[in-house]
C-alpha cells in the first residue's frame, strides 16, 4: 500500500456567507474582496510545511495539483510547489506526486514534459507524473480551451509527452493541435523508460478506457467517498479485466478526505466546521460549469442526461454527520478511521495507491498538523501492509521507492513542522 498526503491549498478564511453572496468559488470569485496577497503567501507556506510534515510523519508521497482562478485550491503551478518539496525531501524515500500539471493548458505541452523531467532530476528519480485532463472550469472557462477540443488536445499532448521523454532521436511532431519541428527534450527524467504515470479522473468512462489502454494508474478524485465511488470503480475494474490487464490494485488510486482525533466525538468537535466549510464553500460551483456543452462527447452526454449522477445530492444540504455517515469524510478515532479506510476504500474499491486529504477547507495550520501527525502515527502503520501478501508490484511508483518504508523513528514523528 502506498499512502500519500494530498493538498489543495484552499483559501482558509472565506466569509461565513460566501456561498450566498458570490456566484462561485471558481472562475469568478473577486480577489480584491476576498483575499490578501500577504495572507495568501502564508497559505502557500503553510501548505508546503504541512506536506513536508507529512513526509516526516511517514507518508509515502506528497501530492500537489493545478487549478486556476479559484479559492478552492489555488496552486496554478503545481510544479513550483513540487520543486520545493523535491528539494526539501532529498535524502528521504518520499515520492513527489504531481497530480499534476495540466497538459491541455500548457502550450506547448512539452513544458510539462520538461518540468517533470526537472523534478525527477532534482528529486533523484522520485517523481510520480500525474497527467490530468484538467477540470472544465480550469481548462475551458479560465484558460479558454474550446470544450469540444479539450479531450483531443489532451490525448495528443499525452502522446507527445511520453514520446518526448523516451525518444532516442530528435523527432518532429506534426500534430493537429501542436506542431514542433525539432523535439529534443532537455533534461530527460532519471526514471526509465519514464516516470510512473497517473491519470486522475472524476468518473468519466472515456478516461477509464484511456487509462487502461495506456497501462497507467487511474486515480478517482472523488469528494463523495468510497460508497458513491463503488459503482464507478467496479466499472473501472471491469474495463481492466475486459482489456486483458491484471487486477493489480496499484492500477487504482483514490482520494479520501480524512479527519482523525482521539475519539469519534473529539473528531466532530475539532473538525466539523472545517468539513462543512469545504463542502459548502469550496465546492460552490454552478453545476453546468462542470460540463460545458461539447466537453462530453455525444455518447457520454446521452448517458449523463439519461442518468444524471451529479444531481443526486446537493452537499449544501448536508452537515458534518451526514458527510461522515455517507463516507464523504472518514472521521473519528484512529481505529474507526483505519477500519473504514481498509474496508470501504482499500478493499471495497481495490485500491493500492491511496491519497488522503488532511488539511480540509478552513482547517488552521496547527490543526492540520495534528491531523497529519495522528494519521501518520496511528492510522498509516495499520494500512501499509494491506496488499503485501498478495505479491503485487506497484509498477506505478518510482522503482527505487517500491520497498515498504522503514518504520518512522518516534522522535521524528513527534517533532514539529
Amino acid at each position: 500500500m502506498k499512502i500519500s498526503a494530498f493538498h489543495l491549498m484552499p483559501h482558509r478564511e472565506l466569509p461565513a456567507d460566501f456561498e450566498r453572496r458570490y456566484e462561485s468559488v471558481w472562475v469568478t470569485p473577486p480577489w480584491w474582496e476576498l483575499a490578501d496577497a500577504r495572507r495568501v503567501g502564508q497559505y502557500y507556506n503553510w501548505t508546503l510545511d504541512e506536506l513536508l510534515y507529512a513526509a516526516k510523519c511517514g507518508f509515502d508521497g506528497v501530492c500537489t495539483n493545478e487549478h486556476h482562478q479559484n479559492a478552492y485550491g489555488f496552486m496554478p503551478s503545481p510544479n513550483l510547489m513540487g520543486s520545493v518539496l523535491a528539494r526539501a525531501t532529498n535524502g528521504t524515500n518520499v515520492a513527489i506526486v504531481q497530480m499534476g500539471a495540466t497538459l491541455p493548458t500548457s502550450n506547448p505541452p512539452l513544458r510539462v514534459a520538461e518540468e517533470y523531467a526537472m523534478l525527477d532530476c532534482i528529486s533523484g528519480g522520485r517523481l510520480v507524473a500525474g497527467l490530468p485532463l484538467g477540470s472544465p472550469m480550469d481548462v475551458n472557462l479560465c484558460y479558454g480551451i474550446t470544450p469540444m477540443e479539450h479531450r483531443e488536445r489532451y490525448r495528443e499532448a499525452f502522446a507527445l509527452t511520453l514520446k518526448a521523454w523516451q525518444a532516442r532521436e530528435i523527432f518532429s511532431w506534426n500534430g493537429r493541435y501542436f506542431q514542433l519541428a525539432t523535439v529534443n527534450l532537455w533534461p530527460r527524467p532519471i526514471q526509465e523508460p519514464h516516470p510512473p504515470v497517473w491519470v486522475p479522473g472524476s468518473g468519466s468512462i472515456s478516461t477509464f478506457d484511456f487509462a487502461v489502454e495506456h497501462d497507467v494508474c487511474y486515480c478517482f478524485l472523488s469528494y463523495s467517498g468510497a460508497r458513491s465511488a463503488k459503482t464507478m470503480m467496479d466499472a473501472y475494474w471491469r474495463v481492466v479485466a475486459e482489456k486483458g490487464r491484471d487486477l493489480n490494485p496499484y492500477r487504482a488510486g483514490f482520494l479520501q478526505l480524512v479527519v482523525v482525533a482521539e475519539s469519534d466525538a473529539r473528531a466532530e468537535e475539532k473538525f466539523a466546521r472545517h468539513v462543512e466549510y469545504f463542502y459548502h464553500k469550496c465546492l460552490h460551483v454552478p453545476g453546468v460549469w462542470f460540463s460545458p456543452p461539447g466537453n462530453q462527447d455525444y455518447r457520454s452526454l446521452v448517458a449523463t442526461m439519461a442518468n444524471p449522477v451529479r444531481r443526486a445530492e446537493n452537499p449544501k444540504n448536508l452537515r458534518y454527520r451526514d458527510f461522515v455517515e455517507k463516507g464523504y469524510v472518514i472521521a473519528g478515532s484512529p481505529a474507526t478511521v483505519r477500519d473504514r479506510l481498509k474496508e470501504e476504500v482499500i478493499n471495497g474499491l481495490h485500491v493500492g495507491n491511496l491519497m488522503v486529504l488532511l488539511q480540509i477547507g478552513s482547517m488552521p495550520h496547527e490543526l492540520a498538523l495534528e491531523n497529519i501527525e495522528l494519521f501518520g502515527r496511528e492510522v498509516l502503520p495499520g494500512l501499509r501492509d494491506v496488499w503485501d501478501d498478495a505479491g503485487w508490484v506497484n509498477h506505478w511508483w518510482p522503482e527505487r521507492l517500491r520497498q515498504p518504508a522503514a518504520p518512522v523513528a518516534a522522535g521524528l514523528a513527534a517533532g514539529g513542522a
Binding site: N140, L141, G144, I145, T146, P147, M148, E149, E152, R176, P286, G287, V288, W289, P292, P293, G294, N295, D297, Y298, L301, V302, M305, A306
Partner: protein, 275 residues
C-alpha cells in the same frame, strides 16, 4: 467533390442529407417553398422548422442546413472540422452540392455570423443578407453572455424577452417528469451548443472585422430591442463596416425576435429580400 443527396418527404417540408468534406461531414437540409433561393443558417440551439421559416417559404425556396454535428446520427462529423475556415469551406461545398450559385442568406445569432463569413469569403454567392442578432464581434463594455454556461432556466430567460412565450415553451419542453422526449430535446440543445461553440469559444470574435469589408450584398440587421445576450449596440459594428446596411429593431423581443414575433420579422425580412 462528391456529394450524395438523399431525399425524403416529411409532410410539406422536404428533408435531405448532403455529404461534403470528402464524405466526412453529413448535413441535413430542410427545405420548403417556391421562389428564389434563400438559405437559412440556424442559431446555437439547433434547427427546427418554425413559423418564421414557414412565412418565408411563401415567397422563397427556403433551404435550412443543420450545422455540422447537429444532423441526427452524424453527431461526430463535427470533429472533422478544425475551425471557422473549415466550416466556411464546408458551406461552400454544400451550396455547390445543392446547385445554388447564389442566394439570399438569412442567419440567426451564430448562424448570422456564419452567413456573414460566407458572404465575405464568397461575395458573389450572397445576393442579399438578413442577419438576425448575429455574432461576430466583441465589445469589452458590452460583454456577450456565454449562454453555454447558463442553467436551462436562466438560458431561457436570457434568450427570450418573455420566457413563457410559445417559442420558449417549444425550445424548453417541461422536464419535471422523467420524460424521454424532454431529455432528448435537452441533449439536442446541449449538443447544438457544443458543436456551434466549437467555432466561437471562448469569445465569438474570430476575425470577422478583418473580412467583413469583402461583403457586397445589401444587408439588413434585425435586432430584438430587449436582446440580453447580444445587446443591440452590436448592430453598430456591422453597420459601420458594411457599405450597404441598415438596422431594424423589433420591440418586445429578445435574442430570438424571429421566434417571438415570427410574422413581424418574416414580413420585414421578406420585404427587404424582395427589393
Amino acid at each position: 467533390m462528391t456529394a450524395h443527396v438523399q431525399t425524403s418527404r416529411v409532410s410539406e417540408t422536404q428533408e435531405r442529407t448532403v455529404s461534403v468534406w470528402q464524405g466526412r461531414v453529413r448535413i441535413r437540409v430542410l427545405s420548403k417553398g417556391r421562389g428564389p433561393a434563400l438559405v437559412f443558417f440556424h442559431g446555437p440551439w439547433g434547427l427546427t422548422w418554425d413559423p418564421f421559416l414557414d412565412e418565408l417559404a411563401q415567397s422563397f425556396s427556403v433551404l435550412a442546413p443543420a450545422h455540422p454535428g447537429t444532423t441526427p446520427d452524424a453527431h461526430d462529423d463535427v470533429y472533422h472540422l478544425d475551425g471557422l475556415w473549415d466550416l466556411v469551406l464546408c458551406y461552400d461545398e454544400l451550396l455547390e452540392a445543392l446547385g445554388i450559385r447564389d442566394a439570399a442568406f438569412v442567419g440567426h445569432s451564430f448562424g448570422g455570423m456564419v452567413a456573414c463569413e460566407l458572404a465575405a469569403a464568397y461575395p458573389d454567392r450572397a445576393r442579399r443578407l438578413a442577419l438576425i442578432a448575429p455574432l461576430g464581434f466583441w465589445r469589452d463594455p458590452d460583454r456577450i453572455i456565454n449562454w453555454m454556461l447558463l442553467e436551462p432556466g436562466e438560458l431561457r430567460r436570457q434568450i427570450f424577452r418573455d420566457p413563457e412565450c410559445d417559442a420558449a415553451r417549444r425550445m424548453f419542453p417541461p422536464s419535471d417528469e422523467q420524460d424521454s422526449s424532454a431529455t432528448a430535446a435537452r441533449v439536442r440543445m446541449v449538443w447544438a451548443m457544443g458543436t456551434t461553440g466549437k467555432f466561437i469559444w471562448p469569445i465569438p470574435d474570430k476575425g470577422l472585422k478583418k473580412r467583413i469589408h469583402r461583403v457586397k450584398a445589401p444587408t439588413l440587421l434585425v435586432w430584438g430591442k430587449e436582446d440580453r445576450l447580444v445587446p443591440p449596440v452590436y448592430a453598430d459594428e456591422f453597420v459601420g463596416r458594411l457599405s450597404d446596411a441598415r438596422v431594424q429593431t423589433v420591440a418586445d423581443t429578445g435574442h430570438a425576435p424571429h421566434l417571438e414575433q415570427p410574422a413581424t420579422v418574416a414580413r420585414t425580412v421578406r420585404e427587404f429580400l424582395s427589393q
